[in-house]
Structures are given as C-alpha cells and as structure tokens.
Amino acid sequence: MTRLIRGWPLTIVLAAVFGLSVGPFYWLAMAATHANSEIFSYPPKFYPGDQLLENTRKLEESIGLLNVLGNTLFVAVVQTAGALVVSLLAGYAFAKFTFKGRDAFFVLLLSTLVIPGGVTIIPIFEMMNDIGLIDSFPALILPSLSVPFGIFLMRQSLLAVPDDLLDAARVDGAGELRVLVQVVVPVMRPVLAALAVFLFLGAWNDFLWPLIALRTPEMHTLPVALASLQATTRTDFGQVMVGTALSALPMMALFLILQKQFISGLLAGATKG
C-alpha cells in the first residue's frame, strides 16, 4: 500500500521530464505535416496536418532529398564499417600482441583525446585541398577511420578475453586471419555492435567537417543540406521540418530497436575523456 502511494508523485514527475524530453520530437513530427504559415501560428500544432507529401515534394525539389539521404547513408555506413575494422584490428594488436613501440603509441593515441577538434580541422582542410579531395566523400570518411576511442574500447574489451581461447584455435592449426574472424569477432560481437551504433550516430549527425569539406549541393549530406536550406532567405519551414524529422527520427527508431547497444556504446563514450 505504501509502495503505491509513494510511487505516484515520483512517477508523475518522471512522466513530466519524459514529456519535456520527447515532446519536442512529437512536435517536430507534427510540424512536418503542416505548411510554413501554420507552423508559425498559435496554438502549436499537436495534431497531424495534410501537408506532409507537399512538404516532402518541395524538399526533394530544393535539395534533392533522395540523393542527399543516399549520400548521408553511404558516408555513415562506410565510415562506420571502416572505423570498426580499424578499431578492432588495432585494439586486438594492443591487447594480445607485443610489438615495438606499442606502449608509446598507445599513450600518444590516448593523449590526442584531450586535443579539441578545432586544432586539427585547419591542417586537415589544407591537406584535403592540396590533394584535391575537397568536395568528395573520401574527404569526409578518411579522417574518421582511426578513432582513438574505438581503439581504446576494443583494447579494453579484448584484454578480458582469455589468451587460451586464441591459443586453442592456433593449436588446432588456425592461421592468424582465421583466429581473428572465427574466434575474436564472435566474442567481441556485443562490443562491436555498441561501437557501431556509437560511430554511426556520430557519422549520421556529423555537421561541421562536412560543411567545411563539401562544396556542391549534389555532394551534401542531410545536415549540410538542411543548414544551407535554412540559410536561404524566406526559408520554408514546412520543408525544413520534413528534413529535420528525417534526420532525427530514424535515429530514434534505431535507438528503440537497439537500446542496449546504444546505451552501452554511449556510456562507453563517457569514458573517452
């Protein structure tokens, strides 16, 4: 009985915080179905309108929505897959092998975590400009393949894997590649999934570097396209809301499906300082 009484006030407070957190997303989804003038009129629209298709059509016309979505997805998938492989390989080397310069390299790698992104962005821009990669997908993907945090996470997780497991496979005659693919990858699957989600989210939402590195609208990723759409005078917010919803809501859906991986990936991210 006391449980029942004690629980309710707290539950109501948490529900209110929930509302404040999720409310803006609901409002966003609703706004995407209304015309510009309705979005900017009182009372706010908490019910669906009938402009979703029209807004989407206009957005396709102004930014080439399908192309932009394709670009964003392509870059995010390739970047995630690449960084995942690099992190796994390096983490495996750090955790399970000894080699010259191992500890020095590891310390250097971690020490770069405290350097703000603003430091490296100018030289990387000049480098990409010099080799003619500005306005290309490699310019977006290449700098994000060697992720110190990912390498660190893989190393820490692999340290907990017993050496005997690997040696048993070697005794059975497995080559190094087979040990990696058939022993290491399967035991690391949960950590790889968490890291994948973390990397994908970062790549999908990435804005500043793509804004600097991309020039032509055909190459734009969704965040860059949205920002350029917003920068034009007399922005049509009906379109902007559809684009924003398409940028934010798929991540929400992915989160609902992969909650565990998301939370462990982002919590692991908390240790990257």
Binding site: L28, V86, A93, F99, P116, I122, N205, P223
Partner: protein, 285 residues
C-alpha cells in the same frame, strides 16, 4: 604473408597510418600555422604575433568570459538535475521506469542541425512552443534569441535539454552498480534515507560524479553547437564562445594562423581545467 611474428604490425598499420596523417601531423602543423599569417604560397612566419594579438583581442576575452559564464551556470544545474533524475529512475516505487529512461535519453541522440532547427522554432518569440507554454503561467513572450540576457539563458536551456538525460543514464548505471548489501547493512544500523544518500550513495558514486564533471567541463569549454545554430554568437557577441570564435576566424575570415592560435589557447585551457579538477577533487581516474 602474415605470420605470427609480423601480425601485430599488420594489425596496427591502418590505425597508425590514420593517426599519423589525421592526428599527429595536423596537431604539429596547427602549431606551425599558429606562428604564421596568410595561407598557401602567401604564408609567412610571424613568430608569436598571433598569440600577442590574442591576448590583446577584446573579442577573445569576451568569448572566454561567455564560455566561462555558461560553464559555471549550466554544468552544476545540469549535473544536479541528472543526479535527481537518476535517483528517481532508480527508485523501486516508480512505475514504467524503462519507458521514462528511454525518453530522457533521446535528446542526446539528436544531431546539431536537427536540434538547432527544432529549438530555433520552439524558442521563437512570436510563435514558439516555449512562450506558448509560459503564457499559461502568465509570462509575457520572451525574446529568447534576440535579447542579450535571454540568449544566454536559451543556450543554457538548450544544453540542459540536450545532455541531462545522457548524464542521468550514466549516473543510473553507477547507482545500479552499488552493492545492495551496503544499504541493507546501514538500514539495520538505523540510518535514514538522507543519511544513506550522503554516506553510501555519494561516496560510491564519486568516481562517476568526477568523470561527468570533467567531461561536461571539457565539453562546455569547447561549446560550439548551441551558439552556432541558435544565436550565431549574438546578439552583440553575448553568446560568442571560444570555439565559435575559432570557427569564425578560420572559416569565415580564413585567417588560419589566428584560428590555430585560438585552437592552441583552447587546448591549454581545456588541459589546465582537466588537470585542476582532477587535482582538486583528488580523484584517481
């Protein structure tokens, strides 16, 4: 051919190449660029001129002051709210805990642009959701993004909305890893809930509290997203932060040398604060 002997070198090669090209070289190059002016063929060495200019630049000090102000106000509010939220989410009396936890985590998944679009409309003076809600409390419409005072508050609100749930979930993980026996033993000893909070929860959570304080401080010192998308640093530079000033110099005025000097000043500040906090709190991270 991959052998047992060369395998670690093969494994580490991609990470090493990426590190050298996109981390080590740019960090050193930025240090050199900060000692130069101009770009490309017109680049010339000017020694410490950019740093001298920085120290005498009132706008840099403004950006430093703004960043510090937001840091001092926002980080304590957010972390306190996050802790309270985590305690609530951890309470066995609460119904639907998993649902609330999911919801409060969601804002931290939102990218810069989506977030900026949403908040610039929600905070709009004439037709924003927030002013509409405040209207029910009898509050007159507030010019969130146009008034020097409220623009700073708007940044604090947006930041708090963005990251409180994330920190709460970190705290929740910490709370759940505190051994139940500690609480049971103290209840046997007759300790009340407030006593248990201060003598068990806080000390047990200490490493995680320290971690979030350091992370939030470092994050806020580098604050860029919120002022960039919401206020552009205005009005009247009241929300200009160090990172935003760096961006403006680098990619609006293309003054790479000066921007690099700001970047290195920021690095010093971040590293200094990080060390100071770890020292002050006596943490062994």
């Amino acid at each position: 051919m991959i052998t047992r002997r060369n395998v670690p070198y093969v494994l580490i090669l991609p990470a090493l190449a990426g590190f050298l090209v996109f981390k080590a070289y740019p960090i050193l190059a930025a240090a050199y660029i900060s000692l130069t002016t101009g770009a490309g063929a017109a680049r010339s060495f000017v020694g410490l001129d950019n740093y001298v200019r920085l120290v005498n630049d009132p706008l840099f000090w403004t950006s430093l002051w703004n960043t510090g102000l937001i840091l001092v106000v926002q980080v304590p509010i957010m972390l306190l709210l996050a802790l309270v939220l985590a305690l609530g989410l951890n309470s066995p009396f609460v119904r639907l805990r998993a649902t609330w936890r999911l919801g409060v985590f969601m804002p931290s998944l939102t990218g810069l642009v989506a977030y900026g679009v949403m908040f610039s409309v929600i905070l709009s003076k004439e037709s924003g959701l927030l002013n509409w809600m405040l209207g029910f409390l009898g509050v007159d419409p507030i010019d969130w993004l146009g008034s020097p005072f409220w623009a700073r508050i708007a940044i604090v609100i947006a930041l708090t909305w963005h990251y409180t749930g994330y920190n709460a979930v970190i705290y929740l993980a910490g709370l759940q890893s505190i051994p139940k026996e500690l609480y049971e033993a103290s209840m046997v000893d007759g300790a009340g809930s407030i006593r248990r909070f201060w003598s068990i929860t806080v000390p047990q959570l200490r490493p995680i509290l320290l971690l979030t304080i350091v992370l939030s401080t470092i994050g806020t010192l580098q604050l860029f997203d919120e002022p960039f998308v919401l206020t552009g640093g205005g009005p009247d530079n009241t929300t200009l932060t160090i990172s935003l000033y760096l961006y403006q110099n680098g990619f609006r005025y293309f003054d790479f040398g000066y921007a690099a000097a700001i970047a290195y000043a920021l690095t010093l500040i971040v590293a200094g604060f990080g060390l100071l906090q770890i020292k002050l709190t006596g943490g062994r991270k």
